[in-house]
């Protein structure tokens, strides 16, 4: 499946020299261990794919190579020389060029100025030598067969062209290592083809390319070898020719699936019905139903549009098309306040930014959404306290008392306060966005227990989570989003990690047959 270039590669067949070697690299952020003892070898003149689920440690590795984060442990060797990357500028000096998912260019400067940002050719008296700059840019654009004018402004250029400028920039640095982080996320098929041709040409010149992607079909089309990360660890590295999509997904998922036994309870009438919901640039034609007592999992990769759907359901953003029905009646929300009144509650992804007023006590955080319901005008602190104490007990929040500032609680207990505040609104539908991200295992188990208890009381729950085992364990049904579209709807009985990942990576479209096979065989 590997596309063999018609130009023979610089080193020819056989083992190529190691360009960049990482050994025993670890990185932790607080209690979260993002990378654990990872080793990786990039050869000169190869394209090396790096895949893994959300949170597998791919972006951390990219950031270490870019000099954004120093590793806690481990060594990096570049062409046999030990190399510590001290910062983004130093990474560039070492010849490591990183093209990020979102192009980071100056929109009001020209293509040439962007390409030479930070190392412009200078003439006498240190003035910028515009002519040399323009010519050099022109030459490199021609080399890569990119039809762009070096003098045109970056503003207004397509995402793909901007992506290509980033690569041209990498070329002017005489990059020895090129790291591409999800470069195709915003490109069309045609643009992807053009990008691949250029990346192959760079490979043939002996550059070591690390290609980080969620799209497995692209990894197979472009890469010579592929490495899989899972939960911060290196799982495997193999020639793509020796791998199948099913292998790759099995390595990405890998874990034994623990399904917490769930109390069976009846599923009631539809509460929330969504039909043909679209928002330009975010998601398209999303339809689903949430019934009372049911947990509907919303799976998908980062950027698939899950949070965007939730934001529309909660009245933060407006839909451009489609209908939302609550108990059979069509509704539109112009604000979170309106959605709240209708019985929708949303536990946002970013607890600190959107979920809590950290500088408020527990009691006032819990009462904030229902202040106007609780009190006609004057706030009675005793009422707030009793309310917060009640939920604190039910959700087992570990606290001194409800006057304690939320900022002083642990992450798990903060999340329980967010849950308490939304339960206090007595919602019909509760949308949970990454409810267990960044909290410890004990608290996670408790959040799962709370979810189960809530469904038993007849609440409809939408669970957005990047934690696949969690989605599988908690959901009655799983909706999988891929690039803003509904890629699959899988019932609890049929759901496996492999099936969800197939749909989430868009592999289902490419390889419908193997997907079914992979879902059926391992068990």
């Amino acid at each position: 499946m590997t596309a063999v270039p018609d130009v023979p590669s610089a080193a020819g067949p056989g083992p190529r020299p190691a360009r960049l070697v990482l050994e025993g690299v670890s990185k932790a952020f607080g209690a979260t261990r993002a990378l654990i003892d990872v080793s990786l070898e990039l050869q000169a003149g190869e394209i090396h794919g790096l895949v893994g689920e959300n949170g597998a440690g791919k972006s951390t590795l990219v950031k270490i190579l870019a000099g954004v984060h120093p590793p806690d442990q481990g060594t990096i060797t570049l062409d046999g020389q030990p190399a510590a990357v001290h910062g983004p500028a130093h990474a560039r000096a070492l010849g490591i060029a990183v093209v990020h998912q979102e192009p980071r260019l100056f929109p009001d400067l020209t293509v040439a100025e962007n390409v030479f940002m930070g190392h412009a050719p200078t003439g006498r008296l240190g003035s910028v030598d515009w002519r040399t700059m323009r010519r050099a840019t022109e030459r490199r654009l021609r080399e890569l067969d990119v039809p762009l004018d070096p003098g045109s402004l970056v503003r207004g250029l397509s995402m793909a062209d901007q992506q290509l400028i980033e690569i041209v920039k990498a070329l002017t640095l005489d990059a020895r290592v090129l790291v591409l982080d999800e470069p195709t996320a915003s490109l069309s098929t045609h643009e992807v083809e053009r990008l691949f041709a250029i990346v192959r040409r760079m490979r043939d010149r002996g550059v070591a390319v690390l290609f980080v992607s969620h799209r497995l079909d692209e990894v197979f089309a472009l890469c010579d070898r592929a490495t899989v990360f899972r939960d911060g660890r290196h799982v495997t590295t193999a020639l793509t020719a020796d791998l199948t999509t099913a292998d790759l997904i099995r390595h990405m998922v890998g874990r034994a699936v623990e399904r917490s036994p769930r109390a069976e309870h009846p599923i009631g009438q539809p509460i929330l019905e969504v039909a043909g919901l679209s928002r330009a640039g975010a998601f398209e034609d999303i339809s689903f139903v949430v019934r009372g007592g049911e947990v509907v999992g919303l799976a998908g990769l980062v950027g698939a549009g899950r949070t965007e759907v939730a934001r529309v359901l909660f009245g933060i953003d407006r839909p451009h098309a489609g209908e939302i029905r609550l108990d059979g009646r069509p509704v539109t929300f112009d604000s979170p306040a309106a959605a709240m009144r209708a019985g929708i509650a949303y536990v946002p992804e970013d607890r600190h930014q959107d979920g809590l007023v950290l500088d408020f006590p527990i009691a006032t955080n819990v009462s904030l959404p229902i202040l106007t319901r609780l009190f006609r005008l004057f706030v009675r602190p005793s009422v707030e306290r009793r309310l917060a104490e009640g939920y604190g007990e039910q959700l087992r929040v570990r606290m001194r008392d409800v006057d304690q500032l939320v900022a002083s609680l642990s992450g798990g207990n903060q999340q329980k306060v967010v849950l308490a505040k939304w339960l206090a609104t007595r919602p019909r539908v509760l949308i949970l966005d990454e409810p267990t991200r960044g909290i410890d295992i004990g608290a996670k188990v408790e959040v799962h227990r709370i979810i189960s208890e809530l469904t038993a009381s007849g609440l409809g729950i939408v669970l957005i989570s990047s934690d696949l085992p969690e989605v599988l364990a908690m959901s009655d049904r799983i909706l999988v989003l891929h690039e803003g579209r509904l890629a699959a709807e899988i019932s609890r009985a049929e759901a496996t990690e492999e099936r969800v990942m197939f749909a989430a990576t868009g592999a289902a479209r490419v390889a419908e047959g193997p997907a079914a096979g992979a879902a059926g065989s391992p068990r």
């Binding site: 909660f314 979170p336 306040a337 930014q353 007023v357 950290l358 408020f360 500032l405 900022a407």
Partner: protein
């Protein structure tokens, strides 16, 4: 409740400064504690003190209204113009207050609907309102107001030594103090100032709340313009020039955090008294006006610097002594939700 503790300490500090100033005043001059001097005391700063009350709410909600001094001028010149045109004051005064509300609405719409920074918007309307005031009245002054009106500026509440304008201040302080500290409206103001995003996600209509605060600020500034006109028995387009600095000084000296989310009305009242007494004492001690201006400017800087330094010191102490997991960075991010 370390927060309440910290603010309480700030107000205690202010009260101590105030007592010291009063004591200095009495020892400097025998007339200090007379009713007449009390009238002088209020005369110097009463409009500014009145405007500081809604300003406190605006700043706690993490916005600012710098246009208030020009609204004073616009209100004064409009009142003079209407009176000179023969409009009775019973009609003219409500009209002036309505214009104050409109001006506040303009600020509020630009800030809350268009998402512009209030610092920039209200610098713009600072110039705009003053310009309108000059267009309406030009350089002339209007006097010959009826006695009943000027008596409101000069006179005292019958049977007491309290001037009428001071009564307005007291009443407004009581109402806004109760609204801010005892009602859900006040709670929403604090939540908006501390973390506007979390407030919005919690169903607080943040835009509407900010709009209301700017309207309040505009109406009260217009009211201050009416009071100033009554006290001087003269309407002028340049009335109120330079007042914004003092208004903001009082609010910040009162312990309101310039980044929003913190502050009390009692603190602002104490700060207004402190500043008034300080000016009075300096005058009794024959200190030149220029030096008084320096004192006010220094106070503004000091009242911003001291709480910030105190906060930093506290963080540093926490960092050294606290071994527990610290979400302090997040606290900072949550607290500083200014634009």
């Amino acid at each position: 409740m370390s927060l309440a503790g910290r603010l309480a300490r700030w107000e205690v500090l202010l009260a101590a400064v105030l007592v010291t100033l009063v004591w200095t005043g009495t020892s400097l001059s025998a007339v200090f504690l007379t009713p007449r001097n009390f009238a002088n005391l209020t005369a110097a700063l009463i409009e500014v003190a009145i405007m500081a009350l809604p300003m406190a709410l605006v700043i706690i909600a993490a916005e600012i209204d710098l246009s208030v001094e020009s609204m004073v001028g616009l209100a004064s010149s409009l009142l003079g113009f209407l009176w000179a045109e023969g409009v009775p004051l019973q009609v003219a005064i409500p009209s002036v207050l309505a214009v104050g509300a409109l001006g506040g609405l303009l600020n509020g719409v630009l800030v809350s609907r268009f998402g512009l920074p209030s610092l920039v918007v209200t610098i713009g309307t600072l110039a705009l309102f003053r310009g309108l005031a000059l267009v309406i009245l030009g350089p002339r002054g209007i006097s010959q107001f009826p006695d009943a009106f000027t008596a409101f500026g000069f006179g005292t509440v019958p049977g007491t030594a309290i001037p009428w304008p001071a009564l307005v201040f007291i009443a407004l302080a009581l109402v806004l103090g109760i609204v801010l500290h005892a009602t859900w409206i006040g709670r929403q103001v604090f939540a908006t100032g501390k973390n506007a995003s979390a407030a919005r996600y919690s169903g607080v209509r943040v835009a509407r709340l900010k709009l209301a605060l700017f309207v309040l600020s505009g109406v009260v500034a217009a009211l201050a313009g009416v009071i100033l006109t009554a006290r001087f028995a003269s309407a002028r387009a340049d009335a109120g020039t330079g007042m914004t600095l003092t208004v903001v000084t009082i609010v910040l000296l009162g312990g309101v955090n310039i980044f929003g989310g913190r502050g009390t009305i009692p603190g602002v009242v104490l700060a207004a008294l402190t500043l008034a007494v300080l000016g009075n004492v300096l005058r009794l001690a024959n200190v030149a006006a220029e030096i008084q201006s320096i004192a006010i400017g220094a106070l503004l800087v000091v009242s911003v610097v001291i709480p910030t330094l105190a906060h930093r010191t506290k963080l540093a102490i926490d960092r050294v002594s606290g071994g527990r997991r610290r979400p302090a960075g997040a606290v900072g991010a949550g607290g500083g939700t200014g634009p």
